[in-house]
């Protein structure tokens, strides 16, 4: 290999920088590596689950969303999910995890003592006593990632790439971390007794509501309501939905944080709700439009997966059927409402995640019967109230917070691409690439 001068300089400078940084790491590193009582079985399951949740974002959402846009935006849309994975992975190990899960400050946020994963090591942490703390951390990381990635469905086909990067950093830090803290990190909602098995409020309501705000602030795509904006590659979308289903077992059954009966139960309710919701949405469309669509069935499955998320480990399989039916009906109606109300949530994040998550959170208050939760139908009407409080708090916090963040990003970078860039497509205008080259 010939080192040409120009690169050579760059190379040696970079190398020098590495040496300095490396020394710093060496000197200050205090990562303790103690032995501890870890269950290999539980650890195997949580590591597997973490990989499964990663697969939900990439390639799950990459395909699910990527197939639904027009061909000229396929890469830009796939990139949204992919880069969310990259950006949030870094944010989370630097400060996000600490803000969400380290010592509680006033019920609303964690501290910074785990900044840079300082003190987060291979020994078990508090939250999950039978698995390495780092395994719990990375499992949670995958949740932080997918929440941001989900939002990108609403900004599709028109947001500036740079603006999205900044948005992802801010939103993850100031919206996701606090929310995760409220429910799972020792914050006020968890204290209140709100039940959220795997992220109905934290992940789905929050992404759905953020998506609504994004759609309203960004405005409609050029040609919306006039041009055909049909999905360019539905096979991708179907495959994406399949991968979401596949990965969701890690999301929900992994949230048991152990390979036990609760995990198995959550696995079963997850599968059942998804299946039922797919059939319900399909049936609703069949009745209302005359034909059962493939996109409808795929959308329904995702809606069912969303709705069962907060309930997965708290309800029995028969309840999951009812939750699935509700998801199919309510989310399909929400898509129809969108068309009437006229905001351009391009890929229906609000309708599926916002509404599905809201229904799931409330349904948890109705049907909870196992794993430590008890709902209305099992004699505890108070749980519904708690759930509604959690839902409302999440909606309000995300509505306001996302709006502020968007305004900041708009001020610094500007949110939307120019009309010419939009007509040309994000692939060429933002990335100098095309998805498909035929010759």
């Amino acid at each position: 290999m010939i080192f040409r001068p120009r690169f050579h300089k760059l190379f040696s400078k970079t190398l020098a920088m590495f040496f300095l940084c490396g020394l710093a790491v060496g000197v200050f590193a205090q990562e303790a590596w103690a032995a501890s009582e870890i269950s290999a079985g539980d650890t195997a399951w949580i590591l597997t689950s973490s990989a499964l949740v990663l697969a939900m974002t990439a390639p799950g959402l990459v395909l699910f969303y990527g197939g639904m846009v027009r061909g000229k935006n396929v890469l830009g849309t796939m990139m949204h999910s992919f880069i969310s994975l990259c950006v949030v992975s870094v944010v989370w190990v630097l400060w996000g995890y600490s803000l969400a899960f380290s010592t509680d400050i006033g019920g609303v946020i964690g501290g910074l003592e785990w900044f840079g994963l300082n003190g987060v090591g291979p020994e078990p942490g508090q939250a999950a006593p039978t698995i390495p703390h780092l395994a719990f951390m990375v499992f949670q990381l995958m949740f932080a990632v997918i929440t941001v990635a989900l939002i990108t469905g609403s900004i599709a086909e028109r947001m500036k790439f740079g603006a999205f990067l900044l948005f992802a950093v801010l939103w993850s830090t100031f919206i996701y971390s606090p929310l995760a803290h409220w429910v799972w990190g020792g914050g006020w909602l968890g204290e209140l007794g709100a039940l959220d098995f795997a992220g109905g409020t934290v992940v789905h309501i929050s992404s759905g509501v953020a998506a609504l705000v994004c759609a309203l602030v960004l405005g409609k795509r050029h040609g919306y309501g006039k041009d055909t904006m049909a999905p360019h590659n539905l096979p991708f979308t179907v495959v994406g939905a399949c991968l979401l289903w596949f990965g969701w077992f890690g999301f929900n059954a992994g949230s048991a944080l152990a390979a036990d009966g609760i995990a198995a139960s959550a696995f079963v309710t997850t599968n059942t709700a998804a299946a039922v919701a797919a059939l319900t949405w399909m049936a609703a469309e069949w009745v209302y439009r005359g034909k059962p669509t493939v996109l409808g069935a795929a959308s329904g499955a995702v809606a069912g997966l969303v709705a069962i998320t907060p309930a997965a480990g708290f309800v029995g399989p028969m309840s999951s059927i009812l939750i699935g039916i509700g998801a199919g009906v309510f989310c399909y109606l929400a898509v129809l409402w969108k068309n009437k109300l006229g905001y351009d949530d391009a890929l229906d994040v609000l309708a599926i995640h916002g509404i599905g998550g809201t229904w799931g959170a409330i349904a948890t208050g109705l049907f909870a019967s196992v794993g430590g939760g008890t709902g209305l139908f099992f004699g505890n009407p108070g749980q519904v109230v708690t759930q509604i409080i959690a839902v409302v708090a999440t909606w309000v916090f995300v509505l306001v917070g996302t709006f502020i963040i968007l305004k900041i990003v708009d001020g610094i970078i500007g949110l939307r691409v120019t009309k010419e860039d939009e007509v040309l497509g994000l692939d060429l205008s933002q990335h100098n690439e095309r998805g498909y080259i035929s010759s």
């Binding site: 055909t228 049909a230 439009r289 969108k338």
Partner: protein, 112 residues
């Protein structure tokens, strides 16, 4: 010489091609096109939105022929491409000033 352009239904391509070969046509060029005409298109539904799609997939065949074959080719295509239902397509005939076979440089009727 003439350039015959025929718009036909895609699943009729093989039949038309075979019929043309039979009457001695030795070459043709085929393009995938979309047609709009009396044949109405179809409705598509995606996530609650209905789209009316006016354009129907069609195949365009172009054949360059000596003048004397004109009637025969028109008849042959008409017969082979006909289903009798709407959307069967059209045949257009243009005059060709000249024709060149690139490989050999031949021109005129022997080049088609």
């Amino acid at each position: 010489m003439k350039l015959i352009e025929a718009i036909i239904k895609p699943f009729k391509l093989d039949e038309v091609k075979d019929a043309l070969i039979e009457i001695g046509v030795q070459g043709m060029t085929v393009t995938e096109v979309k047609g709009f005409g009396r044949q109405k298109g179809h409705k598509e539904t995606y996530r609650g939105t209905e789209y009316q799609i006016d354009f129907v997939p069609k195949i365009k065949i172009e054949v360059a022929i000596p003048d004397n074959l004109e009637q025969k080719v028109i008849e042959t295509v008409s017969r082979a491409a006909k289903t009798g239902s709407i959307g069967d397509g059209k045949i257009f005939v243009c005059d060709l000033g000249s024709v060149v076979r690139i490989r050999t440089g031949e021109t005129g009727e022997c080049a088609v």
